[in-house]
């Protein structure tokens, strides 16, 4: 058999350059992996019910008193600016009062951590299900972007592939697995980096800037490495991102699994003001 292959190889060698052969091999391997992943062989058999996911952004506060010093900086005006924010942000604010919210993975807020077991200790099954229902309705309202959904699905699939989620995860689904955990890692990363990103619009010539970095975190929440995918070209903007990344070297909490994050930074929320 090996004689036959050697013969074939020699034949190919005559036809093709050696480098191309290597590439063909890698290509073949890659192609092999795709059906493997799609077939679900590596997927765990355990089916987790789809749990609605909400974004809780406790970190990205609106700018401090944006109309400071102006007589029109009245509370009504302020409310308006909050309303202008995406609906996605408003819903979690409401959801805060609901006990189910404690299942949300807000790892950066230890206060929530502590209250979580107390509040969900005696979950009334009826109340629980009705709350779930309400939350599901709220989610429908939110109407997430299709792209984000796809990303989440991909992430969930990946997390499932990577075996059992971390049971030590401080906050998450009661059983510590499922999609929730997957989402939580990106939420954690987003939360920490957003909090560490400090930039004043007075530093910039315009708000039409965007940059992208790739960050790899270990399961312990430590940054393994990071790199620029694309710089904005504006020194102040890029420097502020450099600082934000440097300050986010340790997330302070473990992640359910190690992960690579491609983070796009822009100023779309400021442009809408």
């Amino acid at each position: 058999m090996s004689e036959y292959y050697r013969h074939r190889l020699r034949q190919l060698q005559k036809l093709l350059e050696p480098g191309l052969r290597r590439m063909l091999l890698i290509s073949f391997v890659l192609h092999l992996i795709v059906p493997l992943l799609l077939s679900g062989v590596l997927k765990s058999t355990h089916k987790t019910p789809k749990v609605p996911v909400y974004r809780v952004n406790l970190v990205n506060k609106p700018v401090k008193d944006p109309r400071a010093g102006r007589p029109d900086a009245s509370p009504t005006k302020k409310k308006k600016t909050v309303k202008k924010k995406t609906v996605a942000k408003q819903i979690p604010l409401k959801a805060k009062k609901v006990p189910v919210k404690t299942k949300q993975t807000v790892k950066t807020k230890p206060v929530v951590k502590k209250t979580a077991p107390v509040k969900s200790a005696k979950p009334d099954k009826v109340a629980e299900s009705s709350l779930q229902k309400r939350l599901a309705e709220m989610q429908a309202e939110v109407g997430r972007k299709a792209q984000l959904d796809r990303l989440r699905a991909a992430l969930a699939a990946q997390q499932a592939d990577l075996g059992k989620p971390d049971l030590q995860a401080p906050v998450g689904e009661p059983d510590g697995k499922g999609e929730e955990a997957g989402i939580s890692s990106s939420r954690t990363v987003e939360g920490v980096i957003t909090k560490e990103w400090r930039l004043s619009q007075y530093q910039l010539p315009n708000l039409d800037l965007q940059a992208e970095v790739k960050v790899i975190y270990s399961a312990e929440g430590k940054m393994r490495t990071w790199e620029w995918v694309e710089k904005s070209g504006n020194a102040q903007f890029d420097d502020s991102l450099y600082r934000a990344i440097q300050k986010s070297r340790d997330l302070g909490v473990p992640l359910p699994a190690p992960g690579t994050f491609e983070i796009i930074f822009n100023l779309k929320d400021l442009q809408n003001r």
Binding site: V29, L32, I33, V59, N60, K61, V63, K64, P66, R67, A68, G69, R70, P71, D72, L151, L155, Q158, D161, L162, S185, S186, V189, E190, I193, T194, K195, E196, W197, R198, L199, S200, Q201, Y202, Q203, L204, K214, I216, A235, Q236, S240, Y242, R243, A244, Q246, K247, A257, P258, G259, T260, F261, E262, I263, I264, F265, N266, L267, K268, D269, L270
Partner: protein
């Protein structure tokens, strides 16, 4: 075949790290201020509380006006704030990281007889890099100017554009009993009277290239245009044509002036050479044409005209003399001031019985109101970097000079109480 399998397994190990990245979009920074620790400057030798306090007060006020920073609470400072070590190897960056600041200002001063040396440094706490460092050599009494200069350097380091804090404001005040020309620092300190005409002095403008001001005065029984060198005090009449010689404004390169002349008849806009000779007549209209303001490129001039009935802002092209109307809203728009960045034209408009400051783009878009407080606001002028606007407020029969950011925030009064201060003009960069 087993080798292929082992290769596959190895590849699968790298897979989660490289192949499937999670995409996150962050569309605003967590906070729109830079957390900065401003330490008190320490003596490098003999200590004087005055020098340190003066530097501290100036830096504090300038950095606050910039709107860029959130100044960290001094009570939380650790031991490094008390250490003079200015070199990056001597600064305990870990302490500042602990405090959560992104940048720290450290400095020292030395007094040697009459001489004053101030060393100031701005460090990036995260990268532990020196962002800017300056050593100033001057005399005792230069503390404020040096601190303003360093505030400008901080702005340069963190925004790529120098701050305007070491420039000057000229304005008209009646503190002596007459309307005379005064000069002060941009935070309202050290006012100095420049004229003693004992008549009426009006509407100053700075030369962008020399330490010189132009203004109108009734000293010789006619509103003539004067110019005065600030440091020598020498004064000369630049234009003394019968009637109005008002609203003198230097082009950005100082080569020509735009001015309103009436020559005993109706007022129009003219270009004058720096010797006072008429280079060009820009408007020829039976209506009132006043208050010229140059575009930074020097190719256009905004002015006020009542040629369409009510006073409104118009723009004349200097080459073609083509006039285009800029403002349409309201019944009274006046005193245009073109931003040195070219992005905006500030002007005043009467709304509900008082004048307020508006901004509009030179193409007529983006018009919006900046001031809302009671009282009439007049004479808006931009800082040389285009970040701030200075104006005069007439409220409850008292006229005072105010400054704000061009988004209308950070408004504060500059002139001392009890005066009648109007007509501010902002100099160019002073050094």
């Amino acid at each position: 075949m087993s080798k292929i399998l082992s290769f596959l397994l190895l590849f699968a190990l790298f897979l989660p790290l490289s192949a499937q990245a999670v995409r996150i979009e962050i569309s605003a920074p967590g906070e729109q201020t830079i957390p900065l620790a401003l330490t008190r400057f320490l003596p490098m030798g003999k200590a004087t509380a005055d020098s340190a306090s003066e530097i501290d007060a100036v830096l504090n006020a300038d950095l606050d006006l910039s709107g860029l920073f959130e100044l960290a609470d001094r009570a939380a400072f650790l031991s490094d704030a008390e250490k003079l070590g200015l070199h990056s190897t001597q600064v305990d960056f870990a302490q500042w990281r602990l405090l959560g600041v992104d940048a720290v200002v450290k400095g020292g001063y030395r007094i040697d007889g009459e001489n004053l040396t101030i060393e100031a440094r701005l460090y990036d706490v995260v990268t532990r890099q020196l962002l800017t460092g300056r050593r100033y050599v001057g005399r005792i009494g230069d503390e404020r100017r040096i601190a303003h200069s360093f505030a400008d350097q901080i702005m340069l380091a963190l925004t790529g554009k120098k701050g305007p804090f070491n420039s000057r404001l000229a304005y008209i005040s009646t503190r002596s009993g007459h309307k005379e020309l005064y000069l002060m620092e941009v935070d309202g300190h050290n006012p100095v009277r420049l004229t003693d005409h004992r008549s009426i002095v009006l509407d100053p403008d700075f030369s962008p290239v020399r330490k010189e001001v132009v203004y109108t005065s009734y000293k010789k029984s006619n509103p003539d245009l004067y110019r005065k060198e600030i440091y020598t005090g020498s004064e000369a009449r630049l234009s003394q044509r019968p009637g109005l010689n008002t609203g003198g404004r230097y082009r950005a390169d100082g080569g020509e002036l735009a001015v309103t002349l009436s020559k005993g008849n109706n007022s129009d806009i003219y270009l004058l050479g720096t010797d006072g000779s008429i280079h060009k007549r820009l408007t020829t209209h039976w209506g009132i044409d006043v208050a010229p303001s140059w575009s930074p490129e020097g190719d256009k001039i905004a002015f006020v005209s009542d040629r369409r009935g009510n006073p409104h802002i118009f723009i004349v092209d200097i080459d073609s003399l083509k006039v285009e109307r800029l403002t349409f809203e309201g019944r009274y728009s006046a005193t245009p001031a073109w931003s040195p960045t070219g992005e905006w034209i500030a002007f005043t408009r009467r709304t509900e019985g008082q004048f307020d400051i508006f901004l509009i783009r030179p193409d007529g878009t983006g018009e919006h109101r900046l001031t809302f407080a009671p009282g009439t606001k007049e004479h808006p002028r931009f800082s040389p970097d285009g970040r701030f606007l200075v104006y005069s407020l007439d409220f409850e029969r008292e006229k005072s000079i105010h400054v704000m950011r061009i988004d209308g925030t950070g408004d504060r009064r500059l002139s001392a109480p009890g005066g009648n201060d109007t007509h501010p003009a902002w100099s160019g960069y002073w050094q």
